[in-house]
């Protein structure tokens, strides 16, 4: 059965993950909108997941550690998204803005 390991070298996959991570990083750094920052972070988490799955597939296909870690990351990402968006909504309610530059006071 032909598989990905024979068809695509591992560095390609890792490069893809690295590129995705960098794009996500750019998004997280450059966006003014807090939701936009959250989108960048989600992209970065996905890049990490690709890495984990690639390592699992290419190096240790019989051990589920890679997939398990990826699943934990997905869990954490979901929790993070929920909390982050709840915070954004709370901030919006208090300040009528979602712009990160304008949220510069520690007092809610």
């Amino acid at each position: 059965m032909p598989s990905m390991t024979e068809a695509v070298p591992l560095p390609w996959v890792l490069t893809l993950a690295g590129a995705l991570f960098c794009v996500g990083l750019f998004g997280a750094l450059s966006r003014r909108n807090t939701v936009g920052i959250l989108l960048g972070i989600e992209l970065m988490l996905n890049a990490v997941n690709i890495n984990l799955v690639a390592f699992w597939r290419y190096l240790e296909p019989n051990v589920v550690a890679g997939q398990t870690f990826a699943l934990f990351i997905i869990t954490v990402a979901a929790a993070e998204a929920a909390i982050g968006l709840a915070m954004i909504i709370a901030i919006y309610r208090a300040r009528q803005t979602v712009n990160a530059d304008e949220v510069d006071s520690l007092r809610g």
């Binding site: 032909p2 024979e6 068809a7 695509v8 591992l10 560095p11 390609w12 996959v13 890792l14 490069t15 893809l16 690295g18 590129a19 991570f21 794009v23 990083l25 750019f26 998004g27 750094l29 450059s30 003014r32 939701v35 936009g36 959250l38 989108l39 989600e42 992209l43 997941n49 690709i50 799955v53 290419y58 190096l59 296909p61 019989n62 589920v64 550690a65 398990t68 699943l71 934990f72 869990t75 954490v76 990402a77 979901a78 929790a79 998204a81 929920a82 968006l85 709840a86 915070m87 954004i88 909504i89 709370a90 919006y92 009528q96 803005t97 979602v98 304008e102 510069d104 006071s105 007092r107």
Partner: protein, 213 residues
């Protein structure tokens, strides 16, 4: 068959990266979220290509089905009134461009390309069964039981936390502002009265309107 997989990989990779780039550059935040969804889809397809069926499906279920819906909801609940006309990027966005580009070009690519990966030799004859959903389940119940429980508690705490943060108590709940009122409020915040601290003005303004209604 290998050619097909290579082509598929390249297509998926291009799709993921293009979607990701659109996500971070596009002006409209809803469009950004939609591009993010398509990027998630690409990643899920990549998982399937890597024969991680469970993970691919979980990716679609959690990211596309839940997280992105959550994001869309949040965007629509916090609609930025005049936001689409404004700049979406920070003033010094080029610094934010240089850092990841440098990270990618100087660190990631050289490392990944030059490191000697000790890949296992291709299996002779019948390839061994790779771990699937059943193995993952077993692993969660055996080796990773503690992290599994911790993740469950994390989710519970996150759920409660999200509710607590986003919940408005009834007596604090204000009347929903009309569009005109919101625009007026925004304008007040944009052009603060000649007071020393703009932040304080904003707070006062919001409190003032809160008291009115």
């Amino acid at each position: 068959m290998n050619t097909l997989i290579t082509i598929l990989f390249v297509v998926f990779a291009a799709f993921i990266l293009a979607s990701a780039i659109m996500t971070v550059t596009v002006k409209n935040i809803v469009h950004a979220a939609l591009w993010l969804i398509s990027s998630f889809f690409g990643v899920g397809a990549l998982y399937l290509l890597m024969e991680a069926e469970f993970l691919g499906v979980a990716q679609v279920l959690i990211y596309v089905g839940a997280v992105s819906i959550l994001i869309l909801f949040a965007i629509m609940l916090t609609r930025d009134l005049e936001g689409s006309q404004n700049r979406q990027l920070t003033p010094r966005w080029w610094i934010a461009l240089i850092v990841p580009a440098a990270l990618f070009g100087l660190l990631i690519v050289p490392t990944v390309m030059t490191y000697a990966w000790q890949l296992p030799p291709p299996p002779a004859g019948q390839s061994p069964a790779i771990s699937g959903a059943q193995q993952i389940g077993t692993a969660f119940m055996r080796e990773y039981l503690l992290p599994f429980e911790v993740a469950a508690i994390l989710l519970l705490v996150a759920m409660i936390g999200a509710i607590v943060i986003a919940f408005e108590e009834r007596e604090r709940r204000r009347r929903v502002l009309t569009l005109a009122e919101q625009v007026r409020l925004r304008r007040q915040q944009r052009q603060p009265a000649p007071l020393p601290e703009p932040a304080a003005t904003a707070i006062q303004a919001s409190e003032a309107t809160g008291g009115e209604s």
